[in-house]
Structure formats: C-alpha cells, structure tokens
C-alpha cells in the first residue's frame, strides 16, 4: 500500500554566487567585505518550502496548484527523494517514479531500440525487465523500422512517441508528474490517452503539478493549493481551483 506522510517539512536553498561559492571567501575573510546578502548568515536563502505537512493515502490523485515559484516542483522533488528537507520529516512507502521529463536519458546518437533500453534504465527497470517489455513498447510506438535508426533522424513527434511508450510502461506505486505527459499527433492521441488512462489507474498515488485546470479536473480527486512555499488549502478539486482563481483575481 502506497502512502506519503510529510510533517513540517522545510526546504531552503542557499544562493551562492560565483564569489561566495569559491574558497576565497572562506580562506580570506574580510578581504572582500565579508558576507553576502541575508542578515546574520553567510548567504541569502530562498525558502522554497515552508513548514509543509501533507498526508496521502493509497488511491489519492492529487493536483498541486499555485503560481510559478509557489513550491510545486520543489514539493515533487521532495517526494521523489531528490531533496531531503532541512527540517521536518518525510516518509514515503512504495516505489516512486518521477516523470518530470519523459525523455530523460535519451540520446540522439543512439538508435530507437538503444533508447528504449536507456530510458528504461533511467526509469529504474532492469535490463531483463526491459527486454521482456520491448516487443510491447516497440509495437505501441508504431515506429517499425525506424527503431533501428538513430534518434536524431526522428521528428519531434516520433521522439515523443518513443519517450511516451517507454515512460508509461512502468508500474510504479507512486507517480509524480510535472505538467502532465504529452504524446504527439492527433492520430496517436486517442491511443495514447487510453494507455495513459490504464497507466495512471495502476498507480497507488498520483501527484500532478499543473497550471492546466482541465488536466487537474480530469485526473485528480483532490487538490492542494500552494502559495510562497506553504500549503494554504487542501480539498475538493473544484473548490480549490475556484479559490485559486479568486486569489489570482484579487492579486
């Protein structure tokens, strides 16, 4: 059973510019006029997540909404285990698959087949697993003989198909999506949507960060409104989206 429990998590990024990241500032203090930005500290800090608590259970489909810079992507990365919060705790049970960039790891000089392996390995599959799924993935892409050619000879739509086919062949417990998944041309779209439906139905928990209301309405059963690194509201999708619109109008 997949579950996510975040308690009072905070994530703060120190901002090092070229000079403060260098050793000179530490080895030769006073030489450069001392500290940069911030009060009292050595460096200025961006508070990306501020005291965030959230509990998600098996079956939850959650949409993250909020302005750019509200902390949606940072929260997704915390869930993926990429950022460990500086304060608070995160407990994630289940296999997590972050699909932030569905073409991550693909190489233009390698062939379509090689790229299926590459992408699969980046998604955490073993070689054996990929080999087993290879026929199914290859068939779904409808790329046929093209799979023997280097990826650089593909059109953007063909690349998208390949990335989509491999990325949706995994079966994670927890699926993290940033701005949804696109899938190329119209003819392919129906087929892709079907697959996407089956793919997302299998996941125990989905967290989707998006600015597209229709995407959130279609995929999610619950929404979280974020603002300046804080969670300001959790609840039904329609209610939260309404509140978000109101806040935009008020601003």
């Amino acid at each position: 059973m997949a579950s996510i429990i975040i308690k009072n998590a905070s994530v703060a990024f120190p901002i090092y510019d070229a000079s403060s990241r260098s050793l000179k500032m530490r080895v030769l203090p006073g030489n450069m006029g001392g500290r940069i930005g911030g009060s009292g500290g050595h460096v200025s800090v961006v508070q990306a997540l501020d005291d965030v608590s959230l509990t998600l259970n098996h079956g939850d489909r959650v949409g993250l909404v909020g302005h750019n810079g509200a902390g949606k992507t940072t929260l997704l990365r915390v869930l993926a285990g990429i950022y460990e919060p500086g304060a608070g705790s995160v407990r994630v049970d289940g296999h997590v698959a972050p699909l932030f960039d569905i073409a991550l790891g693909m190489d233009p000089e390698s062939t379509g087949y090689e790229n299926i392996y590459l992408r699969g390995l980046f998604l955490g599959m073993s070689r054996r697993e990929i080999r087993r799924r290879l026929p199914e993935i290859a068939e779904f892409t409808e790329l046929g003989q093209f799979l023997d050619l280097p990826l650089r000879t593909y059109s953007a739509g063909m690349r998208m198909r390949l990335a989509f086919a491999v990325s949706t062949s995994i079966t994670p417990d927890i699926l993290l999506l940033d701005e949804g998944i696109g899938a190329g041309d119209a003819a392919f779209l129906d087929k892709a949507n079907q697959r996407l439906g089956a793919f997302t139905d299998q996941a125990g928990i989905i967290v989707l960060a998006s600015h597209a209301d229709h995407l959130i309405k279609r995929m999610c059963t619950k929404a979280v409104l974020m603002e300046r690194g804080r969670i300001v509201a959790v609840g039904q999708v329609d209610r939260i989206l309404q509140r978000y619109r109101k806040r935009i109008a008020a601003a």
Partner: protein
C-alpha cells in the same frame, strides 16, 4: 521508499556538520553507496555511452585512445631515454607501464572532482542514489584504461619481455585502485560541488604530481630516498600496478602505503558523505 528527518534549517557548513553526523545519516550514506552498486546496469550503460558518444561515427572509435597514448609513450620514451642516457629496451616498457597507470589514477582524481558537477542535470531529475555518478565516472576511466594497457604489452613484447604469472596480479591491483577511485570521487566530488575552485586546485596539483612521481624518471636516478616518494600518494598507486605489470611483486612498503591510503581515504569520504550527502542536490 525513504524516511528523512532532521531539525536544523541552517545553511552554515559547521552547523550542518554537527547536525549531519548522525548514525541515521551514516546508514543512509552507506545505503546510497550500496544501492548505487545495485544500479550498475544504469551507470554501466551511462559510462559506455560517455565513451561511445566521444567517438561516435569515427572509424576506429575509442582506439584513438590507444593510438594517442602510444604516440605519447613513443615520443616521450625516445626523448627522455636519450636525455637520461637509458637503454631503450629497458626504459620504454617502464615508461609505458607508468604512463598508462598514471592515466588511470590521475583521471580518477580529476574526474572524481567533477563527478557530481557533471551529473548536475540528472541529480535534479532522477531519483537514483547519488553514488551512481561516482560509479559512472570510475567505470568510464576503467574502460579507457583497458584500451591503454595494451600499449604496455605491445612495447614490452617488442623488446622481448613477455608477461609472466606475476602479471596476473595486475587484476587485483587495478581492483584496489578502483576502490580508491570510489572514495576519491565521493570525497573530492562532494567538496568540489560546494566549492567550485577545488577542481581547479586539483587540476594544478595533479599536473605537478606527474613530474614529481617516478613515471618518466626512475627511483634509482634519485640520490637517496626523498620526500617525493615517501609522501607522494600517487607513487604508491602507480607502483602498485606498475610492478606486477612489469613482472615483479610490489614491495611490502607499497602495499602497506596503499592499504593506509585506502582506509584513510574511505574514512574521510564516509565522514563527509555522511554529513553532507543530502546537501548535494541543493549545491548543484
């Protein structure tokens, strides 16, 4: 799967050090290194990819590595052999063995410092253990070395020196060097990511070490023992591989030196990796 908790939202390195050195963080650091090893099909492919990308569509591909190393050894060998008044049949194999080993050790130090910096884009996207980036780099350098080592055997056989059973000891010697490459990558990679001047410092130190380490000169050319040897970690590493390559056993002193370096290096790497591993994603 994971469980993270800590309570100091501080950015000061000292505060993080005090806070980071917990049993829990130590276990997570070790788990990161162990899990990284389990993902070997990932970094194995990435490492191969790095090399293939460099030589894609070139006719002889990575064997350019072998050729350029061969040309280097031949040119340096003839020149310095003459300068030092050495017998070529004796000097050239010695130089070749030292040079290809130096290539492995020095590139592990240099690339180790860049392990996490060059994985920057991936670190923010991929939920894989961070040690994957170090394994990738060490593995890539092993592949290069496996292309270069033939230079030595070609040169040696040209002068009528054939491999003996002792030569097989090169295999465990290389394994030990790779184990050392891991701590170098973890430690130097971590420090370099925070302080971007460190790769530059490493670069100039390694350059100087090439001349200080007996590769183009021999230890017996030096009047008496010198600090250049005793306090030079590169000497121990190079000699550990070069000796069996040339058919004799490395001295006990060399073996003891390497063991000490391995233990100290891994100790330091684990210390810093425990304290600061979780900060890496913030630093890249």
């Amino acid at each position: 799967m994971g469980d993270t908790s800590s309570t100091a939202p501080s950015v000061s390195l000292m505060a993080q050090l005090k806070h980071g050195l917990t049993r829990e963080n130590y276990q997570k650091a070790v788990a990161d290194i162990v899990d990284g090893w389990r993902r070997r099909s990932l970094w194995g492919t990435m490492g191969l990819q790095d090399i293939r990308q460099r030589y894609r569509r070139s006719v002889i591909g990575p064997f350019w590595l072998t050729i350029s190393m061969g040309v280097m050894v031949a040119a340096l060998g003839v020149l310095y052999g003459a300068i030092f008044g050495q017998e070529l049949g004796d000097y050239l194999p010695y130089l070749a063995a030292g040079f290809v080993t130096w290539g492995l050790v020095s590139s592990m130090v240099l690339d180790g410092g860049r392990a996490f910096i060059s994985g920057e884009g991936l670190i923010k996207q991929l939920n894989a253990p961070l040690s994957v980036h170090v394994y990738r780099q060490v593995w890539g350098n092993l592949i290069v070395f496996l292309h270069n080592i033939w230079i030595y055997f070609l040169v040696a056989m040209w002068f009528g020196q054939y491999p003996s059973w002792t030569t097989l000891l090169v295999v465990p010697a290389i394994a030990i060097i790779l184990v050392n490459g891991m701590w170098m990558g973890l430690l130097l990679g971590l420090l370099s990511t925070r302080f971007r001047d460190i790769p530059q410092i490493i670069g100039s130190v390694v350059q100087v070490m090439f001349f200080i380490t007996p590769i183009i000169w021999k230890t017996d050319m030096l009047p008496g023992r010198a600090l250049f040897l005793d306090l030079n970690p590169f000497y121990y590493y190079v000699q550990l591989v070069r000796a069996p390559m040339m058919g004799h056993l490395p001295s006990l002193e060399i073996i003891a030196g390497v063991v000490l370096l391995t233990v100290l290096g891994w100790g330091a790497a684990l210390f810093f990796y425990t304290a600061y591993r979780w900060r890496l994603a913030y630093w890249v």
